[in-house]
Subunit: 152 residues, 2 copies
């Protein structure tokens, strides 16, 4: 993460892979208690009877944990600033899952109205220990151009 990447440093096909991390039942329940208090995210007895057949993480928890790893693994200048995108949860995150995030640059588009920056479309895929995607997100990121050298 020493070198920050500007718009000119990014090309379609470039990839970034995060470190792995393990998701605990306690974290799943803590997040859900605050933001998504439903039986299948809280570990209540009803969780076993739900569509999921047991405790699963809120999709928003998967998204938040993913963001942490994107911030750690994608060294764009100015940070990770997204305006949104298509978000999918193909399968749930379960306690004990070991996740990591793979980010690929899809498209780099200099801004016509803002010469100092551009938009970069990326695909962030959050994978579990079996290589299955628990989340895909395809955001557009705002990335600055490299500042011109100062004359003199």
């Amino acid at each position: 993460m020493a070198e920050r990447l500007f718009l000119e440093d990014l090309v379609a096909g470039q990839r970034f892979v995060s470190a792995s991390f393990t998701v605990s039942a306690a974290e799943i329940v803590a997040f859900a208690t605050q933001y998504d208090p439903q039986p299948f995210h809280l570990g209540h007895d009803e969780a076993a009877d739900s569509l999921f057949g047991g405790l699963v993480a809120s999709g928003w928890h998967t998204a938040a944990m993913t963001m942490r790893k994107v911030v750690e693994s994608v060294p764009t200048a100015g940070g990770i600033i997204g305006t949104g995108g298509e978000l999918r949860w193909p399968r749930p995150t379960r306690p004990g899952d070991v996740l990591h995030v793979e980010t690929e640059v899809l498209e780099v588009t200099p801004s016509r109205s803002r010469p100092e920056r551009g938009m970069v479309t990326v695909r962030c895929v959050t994978l579990n220990q079996d290589g299955e995607a628990v989340q895909t997100f395809v955001p557009k990121l705002v990335v600055p151009r490299r500042p011109a050298p100062v004359d003199g």
Copy 2:
């Protein structure tokens, strides 16, 4: 929230409005510390120089707070189970913002392969005190059909 709504109870145009809530700087920083540790979400001095000109909430924090309000205000049977959708943050959430969520049913589609349920597309718009959207999300929700009465 007394009566839960099944697929048959939902029609395009139906709307649900959540209670309002105020977002504090402390909550913004607490969420970001755990999930999105970037200067403009942590209240560091650099926040003033960022694209945002000050402390703003992580988009994922706005999303998580929105989910809480959707869970509280949209009484679908079986809970709120989404498979994903298009997520947009047209402007950031700032400390002191008073938000609420308005959810509108866009489309109700019975499943062909799963007679006991269907998909409901909704638009969830998170609005601030000035009536400006800080988030829009258009997910597909899995909603059960009303169980058939048992004969006898």
